[in-house]
């Protein structure tokens, strides 16, 4: 009895801490969402009246185009990150070879580097190498793969770490070639890690602004960059509606993947799958 009472103090403190964290996380989002329904011309809270005209603006061609562009960019980034990241993760977890440390540094390095620096670097690279025509989607894709790959590699590597190497040996002893053993045994068992890696890469790409701001081209502008540009004219309620849309898109992707493949274990850090 006294033990339970003594424990109640810390538990209550923890509960309050969690509540405050949630308040700071969701408060701004809820306010933004509320603002987007303002009837007046100014962004204010609590909203004055109720109107859907800002949502009308947000769902117009002007904004849907960059949202769609960001979706394509993030989708392509996720696909490339898996295609590059899965073999990389496999090699890094299973093989010991000369230059392994260099490969690790190259792969995970961008995590340490501000995306801003990568962005400036890539911009200069494309300009000085005479690749100016590729600024826009191709340069954005390259940049997003560089900054998103570490997330994919890390996540996939975690799922591979949990697999006993004996499984591949068993498959090979039963007559499966190396590629067949990978495809029949390793890929299905690392599936949730691979998909989680793709989701992380997708979200990272979709929400990036630091790098994208340097590499966008007219007509090839991610929605985050478009929002940054629009902010120069002040925070119109349209932006509030757009912000909600850019929030909903990655959440929906995570939700669908979660529903299809059950990624909870990965998102919340338990890698056992």
């Amino acid at each position: 009895m006294s033990l339970a009472r003594r424990a109640a103090g810390p538990w209550r403190a923890l509960r309050w801490t969690v509540a405050v964290i949630y308040l700071f996380m969701f408060g701004p989002i809820l306010i933004t969402a509320a603002v987007s329904f303002n009837a007046s011309n100014r962004s204010q809270f609590p909203p004055q009246g109720f109107s859907l005209r800002w949502w009308g603006n947000a769902l117009s061609e002007e904004w849907l185009e960059p949202v769609l562009f960001s979706l394509q960019l993030a989708g392509a980034t996720a696909a490339l990150c898996v295609l590059l990241g899965a073999p990389l993760a496999f090699i890094l977890t299973r093989q010991r070879f000369r230059g392994r440390e260099v490969l690790v540094a190259l792969t995970l390095g961008p995590l340490m580097l501000p995306a801003l620096v990568t962005g400036v670097g890539l911009l200069q690279f494309f300009q000085y190498m005479g690749l100016r025509d590729y600024i826009g989607f191709p340069s954005l894709l390259a940049g997003h793969v560089v900054i998103s790959l570490p997330f994919a590699v890390r996540t996939i590597a975690i799922s591979l770490h949990g697999l006993p190497p004996n499984l591949e040996l068993a498959a090979m002893s039963l007559g499966a070639g190396r590629a067949r053993a990978l495809w029949e045994i390793v890929v299905p068992l690392a599936k949730s890690g691979i998909i989680a890696g793709a989701v992380f890469a997708f979200v990272h790409s979709f929400t990036d602004v630091n790098l994208s701001i340097f590499l966008a081209a007219p007509g090839q502008i991610p929605v985050t960059v478009k929002i940054m540009g629009f902010l120069e004219f002040g925070f119109a309620p349209t932006l509030a509606a757009v912000s909600v849309i850019t929030l909903i898109v990655p959440l929906t992707v995570v939700g669908i993947m979660q529903w299809l493949f059950g990624l909870g274990d990965f998102i919340y850090g338990d890698a056992r799958g």
């Binding site: 006993p164 004996n166 499984l167 040996l169 068993a170 498959a171 090979m172 002893s173 039963l174 007559g175 499966a176 070639g177 190396r178 067949r180 029949e184 045994i185 299905p188 068992l189």
Partner: protein, 363 residues
Amino acid sequence: MGTRVGEAALLLKGIEKRFGLVTAVRGLDLAVAQGEFVTLLGPSGCGKSTTLGLIAGFFPPDAGEIYLGGRHVENLPPFARDIGVVFQDYALFPHMTVAQNVAFGLKMRRVDRAEINARVEEALDLVKLGGLGSRRPLQLSGGQRQRVALARALVVRPTVLLLDEPLSNLDLKLREEMRAEIAALQRRLAITTVFVTHDQGEALAMSDRIAVMNAGAIEQIGRPTEIYERPATRFVADFIGRTNVMPATVGAAGSTQVSLVTVQGATIEVATAHSLATGARALLAVRPERATLATAPVADALSLRAEVTQILYLGASREIHLTLDDGPAVIVDLANDGREPPIEIGDRVWFVAAPASCLVLPA
């Protein structure tokens, strides 16, 4: 062994394997006859699992040749060797059902669907898992997983079956059950088998021949009775069962008979295959169950004065610990015949062993 290629189902010649600076296997020769059950026995790090990995093709040898069913294989990958492997942790594919696990090797060999189904069912019946084909490995007990692994390896009818400590993850009762079952199955299918274990009980009970390994080489190879009754070295004598060892000097050496002088100046005539020079140092070894206790010295037997230091009641036997006067500590196993031996700690007794129970080992 003098065995030529073609006679043996499995032949290893002069196999060497190094990992970095460590030599795991050095100059190993082994011939396994068709249908034979050979055990590689030794402490961890003796190279037995490495040898199995080399036979399976998980890594290449640095030197030497491997023949499987007369085929030269040391340069072939595992999937081209026609082997069946049962791993210590079973290595079942967790995302497949039991039936899919067992079918895997047949699928890789492009056997047609109907035959796969029939053979999988037959293999599962063989290991007494009929009807469990649709389960997942994680839904099975340790013993059942062991059986699935066995069925998966056997269903492809491999040239050689390789078992890597397959019983070590089972509890004692199940382990004893499975070792009888695997031995019976192996005899019935007459499948050439190499079994790796550090458990001498398993090795003695299951094998046609045992190869005792130490530091990357085979120390002695022979039938279980040979290995146990006539160990060639102190290492083998110590590793298989327990042995009382005492220092000795060679008195007079004949061709098959040697006279040993041991502690307390006792002399005993012992049969030996070792050629020993007069005056050479040697070891006299006596198994605990082959020695006994007496209240007076026994003529024509090794009789040494000793003091009882401990008595352990083990149910089937009693383990009597003694210290020989001017000699090492020894143990005598007294079988339980229903009477309590009239011995107490501190008693002065005679440690007695018949000449036939004494062994000479090189020092």
